[in-house]
């Protein structure tokens, strides 16, 4: 099945960034289904994934209606190539399974990433509830309520593991070190953010940094974890240039629709 290309509209781009980060994060979390350390966590991971998938569906449908080419949520999820995906690079990193390039694959990676992203999403939803785009505001108003449970759950686990045993502390700190380099991207502005702010669509990403830092810091302090040093590395997934893991996750997600175009069940 041929790939589709979305328009270059900055409004569409802005909505897709959020949609794609929800979708790819949901896909990674779903990898824990049947593999989490305890049954309750298996259920929690898939519940978090389900909420994010629901948010992604609403956002993708909205992006499709703005795009002018009448793409629906399924076409946008299954028929876009890597360069037309605009999620944060952190969301696509291996979470459960390690790969040749990453030693991820630890439960600690999942809880640390959940905390980092849940706080970032919550701050977005809070700001977007007042968006000039009424549909985006409605989606954010709903997602905000859900994100509180996500943030609480992630924080509980980071504290439990960070301030747990020597081994759990070391593993959680290592997961935090792995994730931290990708957080710089979450607060870098470009023309899409400038457009969003000018149009009243949403906040500059850079404006969320302080609140994010203080929420995350409070949890890390209680978890006896240290904030890793800043690095000059800047990932660029939200501009469409991804890490080596993105092609693989799309291959897994998109295989069925590519092999059996339009297949329904």
């Amino acid at each position: 099945m041929n790939s589709i290309a979305v328009s270059a509209s900055l409004h569409v781009r802005y909505v897709l960034r959020l949609a794609d980060t929800c979708l790819i994060h949901a896909q990674r979390l779903s990898e824990w289904c049947g593999h989490a350390p305890v049954l309750e966590e298996d259920i929690a991971m898939t519940n978090l994934s389900l909420d994010l998938m629901g948010q992604a569906r609403a956002l993708l449908s909205h992006a499709g209606s703005l795009d002018g080419q009448s793409w629906d949520e399924d076409q946008l999820a299954f028929l876009r190539d890597e360069r037309h995906y605009f999620n944060l690079t952190l969301a696509e990193q291996p979470m459960r399974r390690s790969s040749a390039h990453s030693s991820g694959g630890d439960f600690a990676d999942a809880v640390v990433r959940n905390l980092i992203l849940a706080v970032w999403f919550r701050l977005h939803w809070q700001a977007l509830a007042a968006s000039s785009d009424a549909e985006l505001a409605a989606i954010a108003g709903k997602a905000l309520k859900e994100s509180r449970y996500h943030e609480e759950h992630a924080a509980q686990w980071v504290i439990r593991l960070g301030d747990g045993t020597e081994v759990s502390h070391a593993k959680t700190q290592a997961a935090l070190d792995r994730a931290w380099a990708y957080t710089a991207e979450m607060f870098v502005d470009d023309d899409t953010d400038a457009y969003a702010q000018a149009q009243g669509l949403g906040p500059l990403r850079s404006s969320l940094r302080e609140a994010w830092q203080s929420s995350v810091q409070a949890v890390l302090d209680e978890a006896t974890l240290s904030v890793p040093p800043a690095s000059s590395f800047l990932s660029t997934g939200s501009r469409g240039t991804h890490s080596e893991h993105m092609g693989f996750i799309l291959a897994e997600m998109q295989y069925l629709q590519r092999a059996y175009p339009g297949g329904r069940w």
Partner: protein, 176 residues
């Protein structure tokens, strides 16, 4: 149809919705859940507006279909069902009748919704402290001596708990 006829027709349609149940909590009707925003009688057929509970709730599509089918088989067709996201659904909209049915079904009904604002992130002990604002009573024996096992359960809207008095596990419809 006169205005009075349209009104009667809408009232009759609302009564039909008393029997349309949530497929995941099959004691609650869509009216008990508080997800029906509007039932409008049109020149021909009806228009129903629903609010989804959770963004990813897989029951949403089933509920839309059930509402349409129930009204059409009661002679109100053709029926269109649309979703309205704002204002976002909250458990505050659940009826008292719905809360009673939940408790009898063995699910602790939702308590007060936390007001918007920062959530302090601290370690959450399973058993609430003496000063905890919300004590959850066991829906089976009524004991307040309960603990939360997980904030997530068998559906998006529920968390898992257990009673330390009667030792039975139970679910709680989370406030949202």
């Amino acid at each position: 149809m006169s205005v009075a006829d349209l009104h009667d027709r809408e009232q009759a349609a609302w009564r039909v919705l008393d029997d349309v149940l949530d497929p995941e909590v099959p004691v609650l009707s869509v009216r008990d859940l508080g997800i029906v925003r509007a039932v409008d009688s049109l020149e021909e057929g009806m228009r129903v507006v629903l609010t989804p509970t959770y963004s990813g709730c897989p029951a949403t599509e089933v509920i839309c279909d059930s509402v349409r089918q129930a009204l059409e088989s009661a002679g109100f067709g053709p029926v269109t069902v649309s979703l309205q996201r704002a204002p976002a659904w909250t458990t505050e909209w659940m009826s008292d009748e719905g809360r009673r049915k939940l408790r009898e079904y063995g699910i602790a009904p939702p308590g007060a919704v936390q007001p918007p604002g920062p959530t302090p992130m601290t370690f959450f002990p399973r058993r609430p402290l003496a000063a905890a604002p919300e004590v959850l009573n066991c829906p089976r024996c009524g004991s307040a001596h309960t603990e939360r096992l997980s904030a997530f359960g068998s559906t998006a809207c529920k968390s898992m708990h257990r009673c330390l008095t009667c030792r039975e596990p139970f679910e709680h419809f989370k406030p949202l």
